[in-house]
Symmetry: C2
Subunit: 464 residues, 2 copies
């Protein structure tokens, strides 16, 4: 926990807060608190909270923060707790602030192509609501059926579409935020452009609940794209797949998906379900085009590039049903890998030109630590998820897995990359953040934290 | 000037700085200082500087800032001084820091599609250099043949392409920045994605030299688009043009340009050069598509939408030459309006749904102040440039022009918009920034300024 926090576990008059809010907003029974204690990260500690607040309005959030500031109680904002870095885990003596009940879509404006939403809206619910009027909210983290817009904003979530459409931050126009002292502030704007003052909106996005609590967001939408068509290519040599990626990305076709499975991922999926995948292949590349009348020509051209780069097998879908079949292997990676054992999912991003070096490095780390490393990823962005797999309940293996996990982050930094492309820092990568930023940048970030949260009560011990 | 700055005009030992740097870096003669005193804003005051530093390396910038911090000398970073808000104007006793000589393109990486540049590179030089290898740097402010990447970054410059491609900030991956105390920091990254810590990159972009001096930028590039085709439509009623805009923007065609000329703009251009423009028309809409094989169908479909919405005349270009003819009217607005007299160029942005209200409001303001207001703009983004025109040398008219200028910003805020879509705050809109932000947001911004520049020496009196 952050050293500036005076923990008041057990002594804070949470009954006073409960009384100041409608019945059921504040819950302190142990079962409920326990249910909200952790997000979906492996191997991250979680403390014992005072209780859970589940507000239904901005005013209630303000009441919570005013109380927390007055009593120096740490507050841990939470969405659907699907995060993979421990950013939503409880700290001792904290009030957990679940935003799940603020889940209204307040407006979808078709002329300005913006949606105004509360933070508890599920990503998929928003995506479907805007699709109903011919619009498109691109950010699509794998958790999109479960995770909230607020959580997506707090972590600047990525997804499969980023290679063409960008990340969550690229679709945020403005935010309503409750600050650490309970004050309400609006940052950003509703318009497409605006340069009035410093960009506090982007500062808030990705800050993992350490700078304020997002209570409303104005999100940019786009016209809905045409259904995507898919190309899948099998490569004996991963390096050839990388060359194909570089050529496709340079082509102007703007793939709307560009996913990679390494040999270990292919094996895991084939073991999970017999899809006839080539278990000797070093790489499976799956790409899409959603350029409407150009999509068929695009996936054909992508396939040709893969063949020219030595692909052993290329399949091109001619319709949505075939496309779904070809993307099935990617969709199955997560459940397939979870079947293999306990996992530590990394989230590095490296320049595309260094992807081959990343794979070579992972082989070395695997050999040195004796750990199995499975590496699927959003290859078009250089954002890979090397996943260390080990036996559940084997403490020695868990320790070596942590070594491998750390070595992967070190490797990413050496390759000019980042320790986290889309999952965030949370608890999991807090010590590594400082290595990536350097002391000067870290000090600036701490200074910003102090401006927004001088008492250090907002999600202490996370990120910085 | 900011109250925290102790001005040391005339007493700072600038000779010591000059001696610490190579010959010619620091220039103190009055003629040179005078030449660098102002940017391109109208009616903004400029102080008397100590001199001009024109460094050629990051180390020299560090030397300048260390000296400035030691002697509490204000520093005003400058690019090509094409800005329209006075952000680069001298303040009394300041050292002007011209970045024009740091003008090297350090790398263009075709695999990662990034360019690494010094801040003094002219936008057009970068755009042409990347085009030579089939890549595209979209940000295209009107000043692109003159303005620098550093200036574009400092103001988060927009342009004509934003409606499809976004603004300068959307193409910035990472920055090297010299802080107010001379320390060097790198923010951001080279990779496409990254969420390690707070987004200091976006904080720096648009901060108008008040948080640090950008000495290097890593910029995202895209594959070059196909040449654009153009559609132009004349409307008797501006409201019909707005409806057409909304329909085109909702169509999924993604116009790569969407420009608007109001009646006064049309008249100004026609008076400047006889292009056969319809001087009774309330609106001329000019749009482009650069979707390659789809472009011809796109501009035809845009033309059809305009006809359906009551356009009196529609012209669709079949090739680049015809497209150039159709865009000529837009290109001539600036010189044509300058011929009319002295100008105060505003830069508001409003939700697209409020554009008709903006035009109605401008008519009211024009009537109330007796000022001519010409209103061209980037209508697809709702970013308009209402320009108050008045007689040069008429002080009473200048005062009324300022009233009209202020009334336009007030109107934009009432319509849910912003006082500045792309030009920045500088000196010109400083008092209005606080009205747009509100006191809480303003206080956060001041807090951030203090973290980065505790002595208040970086471009004091600008923005905040």
């Amino acid at each position: 926990m952050d050293s500036t926090v005076t923990t008041t576990a057990g002594t804070a008059p949470i009954e006073g807060l409960a009384a100041a809010l409608p019945d059921g907003v504040v819950v302190t029974d142990e079962a409920t608190s326990d249910a909200y204690r952790t997000d979906s990260a492996s191997f991250c500690p979680a403390g014992t909270p005072l209780g859970v607040a589940r507000p239904t309005s901005t005013e209630q959030v303000q009441t919570v923060l005013r109380w927390a500031a007055a009593h120096r109680v740490p507050v841990v904002p939470q969405g659907a707790r699907t995060g993979l870095s421990g950013g939503a885990n409880a700290v001792d003596g904290a009030l957990l602030l679940s935003m799940l009940r603020m889940n209204r879509i307040l407006a979808i404006d078709e002329v300005d192509q913006v949606a105004i939403v509360e933070p508890g809206v599920i990503n998929a619910d928003l995506s479907r609501a805007v699709a109903d009027v011919g619009l498109f909210y691109p950010p699509d983290p794998s958790s999109w059926e479960l995770s909230t817009i607020g959580g997506n904003l707090a972590t600047n979530a990525g997804g499969l579409c980023c290679v063409k459409y960008g990340v969550t931050a690229d679709f945020v126009r403005g935010l309503e935020v409750v600050l650490a002292d309970g004050e309400l502030v609006r940052v950003g704007r509703r318009t497409a452009k605006g340069v009035a003052g410093y960009d506090l909106t982007r500062l808030m996005v990705g800050s993992e609940g350490t700078l304020g609590v997002i209570t409303q967001a104005t999100l940019a939408l786009r016209p809905a794209p045409e259904p995507a068509l898919t190309m899948a290519a099998v490569f004996d040599k991963a390096a050839d797949a990388m060359t194909a990626v570089a050529r496709i990305m340079a082509s102007g076709m703007r793939p709307s998906m560009m996913e990679f499975l390494d040999n270990a991922s292919i094996r895991a999926v084939q073991a999970y379900r017999d899809m006839g995948l080539p278990v000797e292949a070093e790489a499976l590349l799956i790409t899409q085009s959603d350029r409407g009348p150009l999509a068929a020509a695009d996936v054909a051209a992508m396939g040709l590039i893969c063949q020219e780069q030595g692909a052993a097998d290329v399949a091109v879908a001619e319709d949505a049903a075939e496309s779904a079949m070809l993307t099935e292997a990617r969709r199955l990676v997560n459940p397939a890998v979870e079947k293999l054992g306990a996992t530590l999912v990394d989230d590095v991003a490296v320049p595309r030109a260094r992807l081959v070096d990343l794979l070579t490095g992972l082989e070395r780390i695997s050999a040195e630590t004796g750990m199995r490393i499975v590496c699927p990823g959003h290859i078009g962005d250089g954002n890979m998820h090397p996943t260390v797999v080990f036996d559940r309940g084997d403490d020695a293996a868990a320790a070596r897995a942590q070594q491998a996990f750390d070595a992967i982050m070190k490797l990413a930094l050496e390759l000019g990359g980042t320790i986290t492309g889309e999952h965030g820092v949370g608890l999991l990568k807090r010590t590594w953040l400082r290595k990536e930023l350097g002391e000067t940048s870290y000090a600036l970030q701490r200074g910003i934290k102090d401006v927004f949260d001088p008492l250090g009560i907002l999600n202490p011990g996370k990120v910085l």
